[in-house]
Amino acid sequence: MPTIGRRKGALEQEVLTALAAAGRPMTAAEVLAELDDGLAYTTVMTTLSRLHAKGGLTREHSGRAYAYSLRGDAASVGASVTARRMRRLLETGNDRAGVLARFVADLPPEDEQLLADLLAAASRPQGGAQR
């Protein structure tokens, strides 16, 4: 699908999330394949080296290319404590006082099937819903 005008910084975020989702070092070509969005190789490469320059990524040689990975000790103790603390704040987010709101809130069990059906409907090729 062609790329529709990206926000500033959006591509950097997409590259970061691709690396985080993969959970392993990736070369520019691998990131490009993962994003699958009609991007130019050079665009991805530039974005990766910019993120590296900002200190967000580490890189090592992988053959003739660089393989990039997220910097940061995600496995550190502090991270999980913080994640728990944020989760508590998010739980009050369901309350009236909450200052934070999740992308998606918890589902009541009866909505789960309904949502699964909607996902199936949205995944069918357009117009296929009638058949």
Partner: protein, 316 residues
């Protein structure tokens, strides 16, 4: 002038009862703006007329009248506020004022907690923090909670793994829209208005729901595909549900929140909401009417006290 004192109360009731359908019919960005403005103005006007009614009745009490150097009898003449109504207004404005104050304090505390947790998340790269967590989470941390820092998007590795690349774009665009359009401000202002005027509680709920819909629409427009945005929402919701089953203590599913996700997904699968200038104009008219009534009530109250003061001067 007593009619003017009643208008803000009637406007709150009207806004409260119509907020949910209005919020569903208008495009979300419009709905959030007019409902927040409406809630703030009617809450302020309601607080004001309750205070005016209370003061007009309390001012009739001889000790108060003597202290203020006006005639209590003159204040009670003409078209007086019934005694019980005045006393109820005094009670209501005290209780509601305290509620709004407590609510503001609580919001401040929550923001400080969010700031502390936000700082310990470490530095953001390109406005994004990835947290290694088995629970699929994603949220925007507004800059207001982080003094000296700009807003950032926080997302867990479990959430990222649950979504294909195209749907991760939807998630990122959704959270960026929250930050860019300052959605937290609308939510907090509407909640403050609802604390000061409980008739507006449905309006605050409609604003909370509206900012999610607003961010969904921005994300759908940015990826240029409503169905893709719908898939991202549904998949993220199902991933959370699946992770929730693995958790030892299931999170309390609060009423009125979970249902929103099905509704949001359905809204994205339907065509975008039409602009409805008449409906938006009706809410704007209600806001203007409330403001006008508040002004009339203010003028009327002042006149009564002036008359009562001259009456007092004459008796001297």
């Amino acid at each position: 002038m007593n009619w003017a004192l009643c208008v803000p109360l009637a406007a709150s009731a009207l806004l409260g009862t119509t907020a949910a359908p209005v919020g569903r019919r208008l495009p979300p960005a419009t709905a959030v703006r007019v409902l927040t403005a409406g809630a703030l103005i009617t809450a302020l006007a309601t607080g004001f007329v309750l205070t005016a009614a209370a003061v007009l009745v309390i001012g009739q009490a001889p000790p108060v009248a003597a202290l203020g150097e006006w005639s209590g009898a003159a204040l009670a003449s003409g078209d007086p506020i019934p005694l019980t109504a005045g006393c109820l207004a005094a009670l209501a404005v005290t209780v509601l004022g305290l509620t709004a104050f407590r609510r503001a304090v609580r919001t401040g505390r929550e923001l400080r907690l969010a700031a502390r947790a936000g700082r310990s998340l470490g530095p953001a790269v390109a406005g994004l923090v990835v947290v290694d967590d088995d629970a699929p989470e994603a949220y925007a941390l507004p800059g207001i909670a982080l003094p000296g820092m700009s807003g950032r998007v926080v997302v867990s590795t479990a959430m990222l793994r649950a979504l294909p690349a195209a749907e991760r774009r939807v998630l990122l665009a959704h959270e960026a829209a929250h930050l860019r359009h300052r959605h937290h401000l609308y939510v907090q202002l509407a909640e403050l208005a609802a604390a000061a005027d409980p008739l507006l509680r449905p309006a605050a709920r409609a604003v909370r729901r509206g900012v999610e819909r607003w961010a969904d629409e921005v994300a759908a427009a940015q990826v240029g595909d409503r169905r893709l945005a719908a898939r991202a929402l549904a998949r993220a919701g199902l991933a959370r549900a699946a992770a929730g089953r693995l958790r030892p203590e299931p999170a309390l599913a609060l009423p009125g929140v979970g249902g929103d996700l099905v509704e949001r997904t359905q809204a994205l699968l339907a065509p975008a909401a039409r602009r409805r200038p008449v409906l938006a104009g009706a809410v704007a008219a209600l806001i203007l009417l409330t403001t006008a009534a508040g002004t009339v009530a203010a003028g009327g109250t002042e006149d009564r006290f002036e008359t009562a003061q001259s009456a007092y001067a004459v008796t001297r």
